[in-house]
């Protein structure tokens, strides 16, 4: 590297072309800048130079400048990247570098977007449940066992995976029912945690986080600056094990015979409102149902108390498929005849009127 520094003095201070999106929620456009770039610099350096010279109010998040905090996420020539980890030497000298904000999240100003979606999903994911019988200091775990979860705990929450995920990138309406890769690996991390006391992490991912929406295009893995194998090590094992436990006839038979109760309940309602509401009748329904589960228990309770026109009923999740990519169909092991309902077996028709997303023209009248 020493020779490189000495050998290329001509590159110091070369002018390069940048196009940066400037604007806010109301709109904006790409603006051209010509800016000095020195050897060894990254895109974030160039943005800082612009702030110090031509554009003091250019908004951009950053903190550590070392790829550890995940603040400076942006799209560089259309690719979701960290500004601090994108070296200028990766571009051709005459190439114009285009920098735009993350597309999946609403713009606040310039390169800063509103990422609160991610924090909402984080709050909905049930936290680590400490084992009841262990005092602090008595936790014993083997290195090989913690390493699986540790891979996911490397996540710096740059939200590039969330940004690039097709399910929400082009379908804003999916944001309600879909938590995204960041929170699938959070669920996977807790699922693989050697001492986590909850046993329904996978079912939760399937029923509440919308794991079923993921069609494994691996875009999230590709953009992860920490090189976490989000799809291979996180999402796929979560999907597989959900399928295993639900449809493995031996597991099912075993659960019927021994009644061990460890086989997780698949209708899983409302993992994010644990406690009081769960004790309702729904808790034990639907063992071995193919349904992904759909109804939020809290929404149910609210619905019974009167019509809340603004409530949002979660989308039903399509039933999961087996290893061959088909709906599992065997009358021997299944708890009812015929195929599972494509709407989810926990949905009965006609739907209760409280569940219909109908907005009355006069609903906002004060008389209501």
């Amino acid at each position: 590297m020493a020779t490189e520094t000495a050998g290329t003095p001509g590159k110091q201070g070369a002018k390069r072309q940048f196009r940066i999106w400037r604007g806010d929620a109301e709109g904006g456009d790409l603006q051209d800048y010509t800016v000095e770039v020195n050897e060894g610099e990254v895109v974030l350096d160039v943005i800082h130079r612009l702030q110090a010279t031509d554009a003091p109010d250019l908004a951009c998040r950053w903190n550590c400048k070392a790829g550890k905090c995940g603040s400076c996420s942006m799209e560089i020539n259309g690719m979701p990247k960290l500004g601090c980890m994108t070296r200028m030497s990766t571009f051709e000298e005459h190439e114009t570098v285009t920098v735009t904000p993350l597309r999946t999240f609403p713009v606040i100003r310039d390169l800063v977007t509103d990422v609160s979606f991610n924090y909402e999903k984080a709050r909905e994911t049930p936290a680590f449940a400490p084992p009841a019988d262990l005092a602090p200091g008595d936790y014993r775990m083997q290195q090989v066992d913690v390493e699986r979860s540790q891979e996911f705990r490397k996540c710096i929450e740059c939200f590039l995976c969330q940004n690039v995920c097709h399910v929400i990138r082009d379908h804003d309406e999916n944001k309600q029912a879909f938590s995204g890769p960041r929170y699938f690996i959070r669920a996977a991390e807790l699922d693989m945690h050697p001492l986590d006391a909850r046993t329904d992490r996978k079912e939760y991912a399937q029923s509440e986080q919308g794991l079923g929406f993921c069609n494994i295009t691996k875009c999230c893995t590709e953009v992860c600056p920490e090189h976490i194998k989000i799809t291979d090590n996180g999402i796929i094992p979560m999907k597989e094990r959900v399928v295993d436990r639900r449809y493995d006839p031996l597991v099912w038979l075993g659960s019927k015979i021994f009644r061990r109760g460890q086989v997780p309940k698949t209708s899983v309602t409302s993992g994010h409102s644990p406690g009081a509401l769960r004790s309702s009748t729904t808790a034990d329904d639907g063992v071995n149902s193919h349904a992904g589960g759909s109804h939020d228990a809290q929404a149910e309770v609210q619905a019974l108390q009167g019509v809340n026109w603004h409530r949002e009923v979660p989308h039903p999740t399509a039933p999961a498929v087996d290893a061959s990519g088909k709906l599992p169909l065997t009358e021997l092991t299944f708890d009812r005849a015929a195929a599972p309902s494509p709407f989810g077996d926990d949905v009965t028709f006609p739907l209760p009127p409280e569940h219909l997303n109908f907005a009355h023209p006069d609903q906002d009248e004060p008389t209501h």
Partner: protein, 657 residues
């Protein structure tokens, strides 16, 4: 609300108001731990974060959290940890803080496991602990080299779990603990001598926000952005230090700044970014441009006994630490930083002005990737250097400020004239003395974060009446905050920051001289005039220029404290090296320099250090104490030992009867 609200002017009616019991400013390790404690004590708590939640500078901590759990070497105990900490701080530490820290850090680490943290493990499944500079035994709980990230994520997730409880019990996630992200506090508001609230703005919208709260915990971190070469992020502008000063609290030990010996020096754009000490703990060695392993030439007398004299002995230590002395690369940070500085000044540095840190020739590539994944990643990504094949170029970088708010060691309550103000973490002073040991800051955050949060809650419980925020103080705060936007004749804030960084980096850096420090003070006075007239272009929505303009006055006042104290202290100790007074002076060990604000200018006072309790000073050898203490203190120590021996003798006699 208060009766004052009837007199609200148009400027203040638009301000969003919140009422909390405890407001924690800062969302790093100390802030989050304090907030958790205040919330567990039942107080309604707000966390103010300058960045997004979970991005705090704590994520940059790589090495680990020091706690004498004795998992790897069972000889370790709080007494040994206490000794190492005092030794590292050159006996200038507040002994009570060092004691509490050594005693309580194991519980704080174990507690993190109940929040879901996953540390690296020993063979028998306990938390693994690694060697680090200045620590006698392997003591740092770690997760590869991303321990800080693990800590922040764990605390963040614990807060989420408390919010989930609140959602279940009270119907709202934010019922009892709420995070205000991307919010900056510009002023603390007082009612007489009591804290009444905090005033600031949302970075996103530029709108102002007022928190009315009787207790405020400062956990804002350090001051590194005042330096040109620093490992610190933009947030480290000394906000908490400055807020405390303006509220009537005092700062101590501001002359002591830690320059981490190994920051990246190439490429220029990442200059300052940290290379973890674990590289040296795991076998990395420092070489100059002549290929010489030079640290053996720089072992000071006070450390001679604990460090190896030959490369052979040093190399044996990694596998057999009980029978060999440690390599000199693991000397405390101040020593290593000065050594590198000397080598470079003597013309034996690398082309980029550092020295070589070589791990490639010491460990197999596979092992390097396993033990130091983030470092491998960082150099590959930022510098296109493969550390499994080539050495790194490193040099000193401004890393940590030992100085900070002078606090009561047990409660974290600020001294000075203000009540209801608490501080924890880097923003507080005293714990680390003149130099902090690596690994002690993560445990410091947890131990004193918990204490500050708990005591803030107790303070609120005992209040008889709530302090009130006066409208006039809010109006003044609004005017001050808007001023840079309304001026268009002043200078660009970025230029001013560069000038400030140049003054601090060049004149108040690692090696200091009287004339340069005096010069620095004159230049800071000039800068003060210029900063008072700074102007920021653009509007209020997410305008980084405006944000920097507001941070500048904090950076400036804290820099004045550092320069003044550095000029006053005529000795070299830990993070303060005076070329004109190159040795430690036992008389100066007995003195803390205390900064306060009087009429807008920094005032400096000398204050005697609290005296160590007998059973604590008794943990040290006389020979070691002789290097630090005055003759007078040593005579006292001898008397103490004699009295102890006499006591023991009488005890024995009584037993025989």
């Amino acid at each position: 609300m208060t009766t004052d609200s009837h007199r609200d002017t148009s400027a203040t009616t638009r301000i969003e108001r919140h009422h909390y019991d405890v407001v924690v400013i800062g969302a790093g390790g100390a802030g989050l731990r304090a907030a958790i404690e205040a919330r567990l004590a039942g107080r309604k708590t707000a966390i103010i974060s300058k960045s997004l939640f979970g991005k705090a500078h704590t994520v940059m901590a790589e090495g680990g959290a020091a706690a004498a759990m004795g998992n790897v070497n069972s000889r370790d105990s709080w007494q040994v940890h206490f000794r190492d900490t005092m030794r590292g701080g050159k006996f200038l530490n507040n002994f009570r803080m060092a004691e509490l820290h050594a005693k309580e850090s194991p519980q704080r680490i174990w507690e993190l496991e109940t929040y879901g943290a996953l540390f690296d493990r020993t063979r028998d499944g306990k938390i693994s602990q690694r060697n680090f500079g200045g620590h006698e035994y392997p003591r740092l709980a770690h997760v590869g080299d991303r321990t800080g990230l693990e800590l922040i994520r764990t605390l963040q997730q614990k807060i989420v779990s408390l919010q989930q409880e609140d959602k279940r019990d009270h119907g709202s996630y934010d019922a009892r603990i709420k995070v205000f992200s991307e919010t900056t506090i510009t002023e603390l508001l007082l009612d007489g001598d009591r804290v009444a609230g905090a005033f600031g703005y949302y970075r996103e919208s530029g709108e102002f926000v007022l928190f009315e709260a009787p207790a405020v915990v400062l956990a804002t971190g350090g001051v590194g952005r005042s330096y040109k070469v620093t490992s610190n992020s933009w947030e480290y502008t000394g906000d908490g230090h400055a807020l405390a000063l303006r509220a009537g609290a005092t700062l101590i030990n501001m002359e002591f700044l830690q320059f981490h010996p190994t920051g990246m020096v190439w490429p220029p754009s990442v200059k300052g970014i940290l290379v973890t000490e674990s590289v040296r703990g795991d076998g990395g060695i420092l070489k100059n441009s002549e290929g010489k392993r030079f640290m053996f030439d720089y072992v000071p007398d006070v450390f001679r006994k604990q460090y190896a004299e030959t490369p052979e002995e040093a190399d044996r230590w990694y596998d057999d630490p009980d029978n060999n002395r440690r390599p000199p690369e693991l000397l405390p940070r101040d020593e290593v930083a000065r050594a590198i500085n000397s080598e470079v000044k003597a013309g034996r540095g690398t082309p980029a002005g550092g020295v070589y840190l070589d791990i490639a020739s010491r460990l197999p590539a596979e092992e390097i990737r396993r033990r130091l994944p983030s470092m491998h990643h960082q150099f590959k990504g930022l510098a296109d250097v493969d550390i499994t094949r080539e050495p790194m170029e490193v040099g000193p970088t401004c890393h940590y400020v030992m100085g900070g708010v002078e606090v009561d060691p047990d409660s974290g309550a600020a001294y000075g004239s203000v009540r209801g103000l608490f501080a924890a973490g880097e923003v507080s002073g005293g714990m680390h003395g003149s130099n902090r040991l690596g690994g002690n800051s993560l445990s410091d955050l947890l131990v004193f974060g918990k204490r500050a949060g708990g005591h803030a809650a107790t303070y609120v419980d005992r209040l008889t009446g709530r302090p009130r925020v006066a409208v006039s103080t809010v109006e003044t705060a609004v005017e001050t905050a808007l001023a840079p936007l309304q001026r268009d004749t002043g200078e660009n804030p970025y230029t001013l920051q560069q000038d400030l960084q140049a003054v601090m980096g060049d004149l108040v850096g690692i090696i200091r001289r009287e004339a340069e420090l005096a010069d620095a003070l004159a230049r800071l006075a000039e800068l003060r005039e210029r900063v008072a007239k700074v102007s920021a272009s653009g509007g209020r929505r997410y305008n980084p220029g405006w944000h920097l303009a507001l941070d500048l006055r904090n950076m400036l006042v804290v820099s004045e404290c550092t320069a003044k104290a550095a000029l006053e202290r005529r000795e070299s100790r830990g993070g303060h090296t005076r070329e004109d007074f190159p040795t430690m002076d036992p008389q100066w060990r007995r003195v803390n320099l205390v900064c306060s604000l009087a009429g807008g200018t920094v005032r400096l006072e000398r204050k005697p250090l609290p005296k160590m309790r007998a059973e604590l000073i008794g943990l040290f050898d006389r020979a070691e104490l002789a290097k630090y203490l005055t003759d007078e203190e040593l005579t006292e120590f001898d008397a103490l030992v004699a009295a102890d021996a006499a006591d023991a003798a009488t005890d024995d006699v009584e037993k025989e009867r």
